[in-house]
Symmetry: C2
Subunit: 324 residues, 2 copies
């Protein structure tokens, strides 16, 4: 049945059914607002919007993956503050001709991602719209008083990165080319794994700054440098560049790792004496590898990349979807 036949209230009723009973002491969909438990002190609050034709192409992604990713990009932002995701609301704009089943699958994808982190979708809004848009807002708990901002990096700090870089950008290119022999890369693009457990494992090591890699490693490290008034020197040989051996793609893996974006790995800085211990703590807790890729330097030095013994400028360029 199509959404236009079900109508707003039929849709709300169906989504309440799918969501199941609320957590104890909470009120989820079906009232003017959701009522959710919050810890005393501070909470994390974020929103990310995904728009058809800009962030996704329905000929390349299905509704479950789309819902999953719309949630994952928000969860990743909470992880990048050292926090854990708790409750989300989702505002969606869809063409009324859409099938209810498709919309249910989209919600299931959001719920699947939230559920992996013990979070939940507790409400939302749906409107008719000529273009499909999914806007998730998420609240999360910080780690006690500790919130890891972007502005704490200090000269001498080690620069660390979880996982591998460039996998999402490579997966996107494979999807577009219709090449199906590297599903792992395609999954990295369609269903990024937010690094919540990694951020939790890192807490005791007190990182000085952290960001999730959405715009691209260089652009996001650039955000840390800008907010911290610092510079950076990165050793290309130490970057965890995704392997594209045997993949028929005409692109430079290092370029994808630096500027590809959407990896949703964590980039953090930390006092150099604690970097090895931090990497070890994360890998022991989660099996996710951590690479120490460079050092924070004085702001006047800007961002540099060492490639084959040569030092060159590292441009903080990334994907700017607003620039036409």
């Amino acid at each position: 049945m199509r959404l236009g036949e079900v109508g707003e209230f039929g849709l709300i009723a169906r989504l309440r059914e799918l969501a199941g009973p609320p957590a104890s002491g909470e009120v989820w969909a079906g009232d003017d607002t959701a009522v959710v438990r919050a810890p005393a002190g501070t909470i994390l609050f974020t929103t990310d919007i995904m728009v058809e034709g800009v962030h996704f192409d329905l000929s390349l992604t299905g509704p479950e993956d789309l819902g999953y990713k719309a949630m994952a990009v928000n969860v990743s932002d909470v992880a990048a503050m050292g926090g854990t995701p708790r409750r989300a609301v989702a505002a969606i704009g869809v063409r009324p001709g859409i099938e209810m089943e498709w919309l249910e699958r989209l919600y299931n994808g959001m719920r699947e991602c939230a559920g992996e982190f013990d979070a939940a979708v507790v409400g939302g809004d749906v409107s008719r719209s000529e273009c499909l848009v999914i806007s998730v807002a998420l609240i999360g708990n910080p780690a006690g008083r500790l919130v890891v901002l972007r502005n704490g990096a200090r000269p001498g700090d080690a620069i660390c990165v979880t996982g591998a870089l460039g996998a999402s950008a490579a997966g996107y290119r494979l999807l577009r080319a219709g090449i199906k022999d590297r599903p792992g890369l395609v999954q990295a693009h369609l269903r990024p794994k937010a690094r919540v457990a990694e951020a939790v494992a890192l807490r005791r090591q007190l990182p000085s700054a952290m960001i999730d890699i959405s715009d691209g490693f260089a652009a996001d490290l650039g955000h840390i440098c800008e907010e911290s008034g610092a510079g950076a020197v990165v050793d290309a040989a130490k970057l965890p560049v995704v392997s594209l051996d045997g993949v028929e793609l005409d692109c430079d893996p290092l370029e994808l790792a630096l500027h590809g974006g959407e990896d949703y790995e964590l980039c953090f800085t930390i006092a150099p004496g604690r970097a090895e211990a931090a990497a070890h703590a994360i890998t022991e807790a989660t099996s996710t590898p951590v690479a120490i890729v460079g050092e924070i330097v004085d702001g006047a030095e800007g961002m540099k990349l060492i490639v084959d013994g040569q030092t060159k400028d590292l441009e903080a360029k990334g994907w700017d979807h607003l620039k036409s």
Copy 2:
């Protein structure tokens, strides 16, 4: 300058400037998430999306009014739970050809509305989009342990309504007809006043159920009845129908009051012995009139309207923008 020239990071920098410094102990725009203070216990959490061509027409509304309303509809939801709004994030999709100045005016409208209620816009996201969409998510504080849900109405309870009904729908029709002699009605449509102070003044009187009138009085009273398993009898003569005397509109004021929608007044139910005191408390605190318009009855009786001594069915029909 156009947004496409300014780019995402230029935009973020400008919006941070406009937002001013964050409240003490908080972090607003510029990091992965905002960090905001929350009371211990529970918080209210809601989102509402507004889409061009569905919720607004740019030939009839300016950016300040649009931003104001996008915030007001969320604030109204928090008021309808008996709470006060605190912090909002806004996800916006816009055509890249849009002027930065226009977008700044939109933000200023959102901030103006939030500021009226001692709330603030603390972050957000902007994407390119072929259609203009504004999705605000808002957290608010409940009144201690008291949260006023839709499901608490009991037979015998009085049904009360703040302000006047039908003003927004009349204002919309005047706007479309280009009639400018009743600016108050047009303002009711473009800049609805969320009834936060009214909800606060009502707290001590312990309303049994409450909703804000967004879909239309009949539809929203219908939501209370459905959630409470109750019915309702409404006296048309007591409804605070907006006066359209002298207005050249070919419409029935009662029809607009019942089904027009977007009034953002509060409809609440309350034990009959406290209804007069509740109305008095609200009017004394805010000058907003409160009308006692009917009575909750057994669910089997459905919803009835008494007009000129005749009792007829009151259909819970409202605006369903998903139905094509």
